[in-house]
């Protein structure tokens, strides 16, 4: 192992190396910080760095390993936190001038959990303002770029988180997903992204809830083993968060009668889909067939427009709510300004109607599954586009509406279901990553992780890294 390449090692292997004394968390952190110094000026993923705090945490971890008392599998692992989550004594701007000077004094609940597990939090990752868009750019920090092609966006809103992990700035990252904000960026950067069921990772003490319960803590990793480690550490109830107290046994019970039956839902009728993505997803479908899954091409039994209406109601209302807290005095880019414009016109009755529709969908989610165990879709309808544009204006040669690229992810948020994005393959023309999505029944995270692991063992992706010329500073 090249001593300068520790930043390319996954968390599980780092943990084993720590336990064996082959390397210390301090050395790994220093390597990651060096890598950050090299690549961050180009990708602009990390917007706040806490070298002092991270070094102290790494040192403390080193001592625990030396004493043979590590806190668990994530002890000493360097990682980043998305900038809409609160880390004590670090800025939390939410990508907005409204919070330009906000430095919380306490961790929010999931951050406290990962810190208590010994993880070394070294940075905050960039987001679009208020985490409401599918790219990652804001007036405070500018645009985050895709390590696979610096002209392009890593997607959003967890764009900073995926750009960091894809570049070796921590093997895992913690973000959020309110409409696909973990999964689409993961798909654009050759990473895994997990959005758990509502309540599976307890929340509390954070920014005001902006998207009802649609937004959950989401996880980014390079390998399924790392993703599972992170998920195991973060999931679980807390009395502060009522929704976290559900016992998910009903989901697990169903999954025990494993039927290995996948519903491939593609395309969503009436919406454009990139041809390369469609081809990649068919390839993945045939791969699952090789793994003895029955994959049926069976269109979605719902109207995606209805889901989009609910999402637009929740997103525009959420933005309006946050704007109200700041007396409307926050600058918005054009696309957010339009969202705000729709939000201020909405009545509470409209919002309640949307929530009632949401719960009706959730109560009838079983009908979408029928005999299927898992739903399969592309993660995104479009390949990554300009890092400076909020959304792609064309998809598959057709003119695209603002949310068209994102239509495959939001329905899982409305339904509150667990979903994962897994690297499918790379584009034959641009070599850019493409992801596919699996959506499980409520509480079926373990099933999704198991399927990802099966797939990974036959078609691994983690050895593919973005072009080195970027990492060495060539392609600015």
């Amino acid at each position: 192992m090249d001593r300068n390449e520790w930043h390319k090692i996954d968390a599980a292997r780092l943990g084993r190396a720590f336990r064996r004394g082959h390397i210390s968390p301090v050395e790994v952190l220093e390597d990651v910080l060096r890598q950050c110094e090299r690549v961050n000026p180009q990708i602009n993923a990390v917007v706040a760095l806490d070298e002092t705090g991270a070094r102290a945490a790494a040192k403390a971890s080193e001592k625990r390993f030396a004493a043979g008392t590590p806190l668990g599998p994530l002890d000493g692992i360097p990682l980043t936190i998305k900038d809409n989550l609160l880390c004590r004594d670090m800025p939390a701007t939410w990508g907005s001038s409204a919070y330009r000077h906000f430095i919380p004094s306490a961790d929010e609940l999931p951050v406290a959990r990962i810190r208590d597990a010994g993880a070394v939090i070294f940075g905050k990752t960039n987001v679009p303002q208020f985490t409401l868009q599918g790219y990652t750019k804001n007036a405070l920090f500018g645009a985050t770029r895709n390590p696979w092609d610096l002209e392009l966006t890593p997607g959003g809103s967890s764009g900073g988180a995926v750009a960091a992990v894809a570049s070796g700035l921590g093997p895992v990252a913690i973000g959020t997903d309110g409409g696909g904000s973990i999964r689409r960026p993961a798909g654009y950067t050759n990473l895994l992204g997990l959005k758990p069921s509502v309540g599976r990772i307890a929340r509390g003490n954070g920014f005001p809830e902006i998207l009802y319960d649609l937004e959950v803590i989401g996880l980014i990793a390079r390998t399924v083993e790392d993703l599972s480690l992170l998920y195991n550490e973060l999931s679980g109830p807390d009395t502060q968060d009522r929704r976290s107290l559900a016992d998910y046994a009903h989901g697990r019970d169903r999954n025990r009668q494993s039927r290995k039956h996948i519903r491939l839902m593609m395309p969503f009728a009436g919406f454009p889909l990139d041809e390369e993505i469609a081809a990649a997803i068919y390839t993945c479908a045939s791969r699952f067939a090789k793994l003895d899954y029955q994959v049926d091409d069976d269109p979605a039994p719902f109207s995606i427009e209805t889901f989009n209406e609910i999402l637009d109601t929740v997103f525009s209302t959420g933005l309006t709510r946050i704007m109200q807290e700041h007396d409307g005095k926050v600058d918005l880019d054009d696309s957010l300004a339009q969202l705000y414009d729709r939000g201020i016109r909405r009545s509470a009755a409209d919002y309640l109607t949307a929530l009632n529709a949401l719960w009706a969908f959730r109560n009838n989610a079983d009908a979408i599954f029928g005999d299927y165990e898992v739903l399969m879709t592309p993660t995104a309808a479009a390949m990554p586009w300009s890092a400076l544009e909020p959304y792609p204006k064309f998809i598959g040669g057709c003119r695209a509406e603002p949310r068209d690229h994102a239509i495959y992810t939001g329905f899982a948020n409305v339904l509150g279901l667990p979903a994962i994005s897994i690297p499918a393959s790379r584009s034959p023309t641009s070599a850019l990553p493409i992801g596919f999505q699996l959506v499980g029944r409520f509480g079926a995270e373990e099933k999704l992780l198991a399927m990802a692991r099966e797939y990974e063992s036959e078609w691994p992706w983690a050895n593919a890294w973005p072009p080195e010329d970027m990492a060495s500073g060539g392609n600015a």
Binding site: G204, E209, T239, R242, D247, A249, H250, N363
Partner: protein, 483 residues
Amino acid sequence: MSNHHQMGLNASGLSISEPEPTDPSLFNGAQLIRAYHDRSLSPADVVTAIFKRMSDVEPVINAFVVSDQASAMRQAEASAARWKNGSSLGPLDGLPVTIKDNIAISGYPARKGSRTTPDKFDTSNAPVATRLIDGGAIILGKTCMSEFGWKGVGDSPLTGITRNPWNTKVTTGGSTAGGAAAAALNLGVIHVGTDGAGSIRIPSSFCGVFGMKPSYGRIPALPGGATFHVGPLTRSVRDAAALLQTLAGYDPQDLTSLNVPVGDLLDTLDAGIKGMRIAWSPRLGYIENLDAEVEAVTARAAQSFAAMGATVEQVDPGFTDPKPILEPIWLTICWTIVRGIPDARWNEVDSGLLALAMKGRNVSAADYATAIGARAGLHATIARFNESYDLLLTPTLASPAFEVGHNNPADGKFGTDWLNWAPYTYPFNLSYHPAASVPCGFTRDGRPIGLQIVGPYLREDLVLQAARAFEDAHPWPFTNEPV
């Protein structure tokens, strides 16, 4: 009437510590089950006796929107057959029950206190109705409520005034008005109500019965709503526990119901409260307007928990008045209801509901979303409080029952917003916590007073244990005839 304020005494001469009554319509649920067991009584005898007494008191009280003796007799005979051949369905089998008129049950309309709702039989059951029927309960009929449950008193455009059995000049409270009146008179041993801001606890307190709203998510609440909780009104705590045991639990039709085991509520009911840490908060830290008699009676009741082995400390839970959270939610619900009624029929709607609906029309989506978000904060505050205190005690209401036909006490002391005299109940709808009202005494002129017991989230068992311990130490009196 002069000795009503002394707990444990009963103007009508019956208390639960006394020998079992001879009139089967005066048995509580547990007594009925024992009698079915030893075959000293058949469910049909009970139904006959109840309907006989109902025919005497119902013209005065007006608790029922509709009752169906023929149907109840058929259910009673089916139950009798099960008891006879040893195939009883459990702790509800053969128990006469009522349900509030906003819960769908096949074969009855659900008028919800409104003249604008269709007088048409429902053809399917709400999940709770299914569970009642599957448990062998005998449905006597459906009980009166304020229109769509919008207010905390007992009158509606559809059914007029429901009267308080303890004093027919005063209101039952609402919105589960008929359920509380029927519970007070034992016209049925369990009464299923709903509670969106106090609608089980308010009439329980005014009518001198036990009433409990379990945690949000404990009982499937279809058709549901943001603050909607289903729960029991009963004379005895044990009967309420039996109902909760049957109704609690996840229903895949309603994902707001949590899949969390409820435990054996009946088995743990008599565990006592020794060692429990109890907080007594007479004003929640911000309530200024509290009737002096209510304060004195509830304070004495709260302190009596110390004699049962708990520690009692006067301390506030640490939240500010959550009325700004309730208001946009409540107004919006009112408007979404009224907007579904053709304009031409708005003159048939309770004018108070209509006024709130008109305000609700102007609530913005953002204000509603802010309120929902704030509920999570309220829940978390109380969750932290529960790390130091197992239970919170408060008065159930700031006022005793007042004159029928009014939304507020006529002396104007509590203003013109009914939440001013009912400020203790809605915080725990917003926070999703379980809360009960136990009868704890009377005003000097004989109007019942209730003590509210609030438990940690999903800890119905603790609330029931405390209520049962209080019931055991200070059995409350009943009235079998309207006064």
